[in-house]
């Protein structure tokens, strides 16, 4: 297919998220967050622990309504969960009683896509993430990496324009993680979905992203939006290039400032 990815532009403007608590004070997770992600772009989001990165993803996914500000997908306000947005959580969240194939088929099943079409799609997706041989296994028979692959395949099941990844590889060992990131980029090379990926790793953020968005400590807002000066397709070796290391230094500087709570 030679479709130019025109869909999948995400814009957050002045987003506040306040969680109401019964006790004295509400928790403010996000305050005045702005973020623009172009169609087909990959943006890595990094920030101190508990800064509201996951909350931000949930706003985009339509799972949390912001207390203030606007979130839009291709100019249309995000008013709830949307099938054009695929979500990969930190944990695989597979249905333990279903096989891998049935888990990947789940979104299509809920969407009422008839079985023959569903099956063809599941087979294609399992092929893409390298799980064809595991189609008939249940999650407890899989390794952590395989489970997360299945979760990725499931997030792609409805051919979303936007893929949101919430620290999807944080539970995996470093080697698996690197391989995974390479595969993710290869997949992106074919699908050109917009990707917003939350991560804790600076090198991962740089390797994956066109830009790295650095959030402040809670209440989170954008403190730096750094363009990654690396070509695509990317290889792991590029992380050793001068451009990558200077970007890493910049990200680290902003992160340190954000963690210290001082915003310059």
């Amino acid at each position: 297919m030679t479709v130019v990815a025109a869909a999948g532009r995400v814009e957050l403007e002045g987003i506040d998220v306040r969680f109401e608590r019964a006790a004295a004070q509400d928790t403010v997770a996000l305050q005045g967050l702005d973020l623009r992600v172009g169609a087909g772009e990959i943006v890595s989001v990094i920030g101190p622990n508990g800064c509201g990165k996951s909350t931000m993803l949930r706003v985009i996914a339509g799972l949390i309504a912001p207390s203030q500000g606007t979130a839009t997908l291709d100019e249309r306000p995000i008013e709830g969960p949307n099938r054009r947005i695929g979500l990969v959580f930190q944990e695989p969240r597979l249905l333990p009683w279903r096989t891998v194939a049935a888990n990947v088929a789940y979104p299509a099943e809920l969407a009422g896509i008839p079985e023959p079409a569903r099956d063809a799609r599941v087979t294609a997706l399992l092929g893409r993430v390298g799980l064809l041989d595991a189609a008939g296994l249940v999650p407890s028979q899989l390794s952590g990496g395989m489970r997360q692959r299945a979760a990725l395949a499931r997030a792609l099941a409805l051919e979303p324009d936007v893929l949101l990844l919430d620290e999807p590889f944080s539970a995996l060992d470093a080697m698996t993680r690197e391989r995974f990131n390479v595969e993710l980029l290869a997949l992106w090379g074919r699908l050109r979905t917009t990707i917003v990926v939350v991560t804790h790793s600076i090198s991962e953020a740089i390797f994956l992203g066109d830009r790295v968005a650095v959030l402040s400590a809670r209440p989170g807002h954008l403190v730096a939006d750094i363009t990654v000066p690396l070509e695509r397709p990317r290889t792991l070796d590029m992380l050793d290039e001068a451009a990558a290391t200077s970007t890493a230094r910049e990200v680290r500087r902003h992160l340190a400032a954000a963690e210290a709570g001082d915003e310059t």
Partner: protein
């Protein structure tokens, strides 16, 4: 079923019979107090072939089956309501607990008085006794659904019905089957108790007949063996269905 489980069952039975026989020999109890196992086995075969037990067993089995079915069908939706709504839980729990706390033995005569000595009264008693464990296990099971899976369902725009069918029920099944296992054994208790409270037929009636007017202790034991057998077989059926539905996780 695995061969190991069958062998273990047979071993347990053999040990039980051997001890029984040993007690008979050592104690010297007369047969009308404790008949030897071979006498009971002989009476059991005879009672079945001559049709002494069969109509009673059929009556009891019908009571157990209907009572268990009705109790389950009532308990599952109530368990769902208890799990879903704190208000329902608060309003209904006192009645459920009170019904459970009142011994069925004491309640049975009242229920027979109201619903008559026929099948209806028996089914009511069986249903009542199986209701509690199944409702509670359904409630616990439905509440046990992983919050992460519910959020996944929400992100995929699952309808209320889809959440119930694809997330809540599958997640609750292991717990529900725990309740069904307890329920099916209690249904046997319920049936026998209900027959004691007034009935013309049933294994509970036969135990009384054998003890009283017939003065046939081996038949009494043969009836007990039959009741135990029914309980075990029904329990195993529930376990088999559970294996089929819950499977490997």
């Amino acid at each position: 079923m695995k061969r190991g489980a069958i062998l273990a069952g047979l071993a347990a039975l053999t040990v039980f019979v051997l001890i029984w026989k040993a007690v008979v020999i050592v104690s010297g109890f007369p047969p009308f107090i404790l008949p030897p196992p071979e006498a009971v086995a002989g009476r059991l075969v005879q009672a079945w072939t001559t049709g002494t037990i069969e109509p009673h067993a059929a009556a009891t089995l019908l009571e157990i089956g209907l009572g268990f079915l009705v109790g389950t069908l009532l308990a599952l939706p109530v368990g769902y309501g208890l799990a879903r709504s704190a208000i329902i839980a608060r309003l209904v729990s006192p009645y459920i607990v009170a019904a459970q706390a009142t011994p069925i033995l004491a309640l049975a005569p009242v229920l027979v008085l109201w619903f008559g000595p026929g099948l209806l009264g028996k089914v009511v008693i069986c249903a009542l006794i199986v209701f509690f464990p199944i409702a509670v296990s359904a409630m616990v099971g439905l509440r046990s659904v992983d919050a992460g899976l519910l959020e996944l369902g929400r992100s995929l725009r699952a309808t209320r019905r889809q959440v119930l069918l694809t997330l809540e029920i599958p997640a609750a099944l292991p717990s529900i089957f725990g309740g069904l296992r307890i329920g099916i054994t209690l249904a046997v208790v319920g049936a026998i108790v209900s027959e004691w409270a007034g009935a013309e037929r049933g294994l509970g009636v036969l135990v009384n007949l054998a003890r009283g007017s017939l003065f046939d202790t081996p038949l009494m034991f043969a009836t007990l063996v039959t009741i135990a057998g029914i309980g075990i077989v029904l329990y195993l059926i529930v376990v088999l269905v559970e294996r089929r539905l819950v499977g490997q996780r």
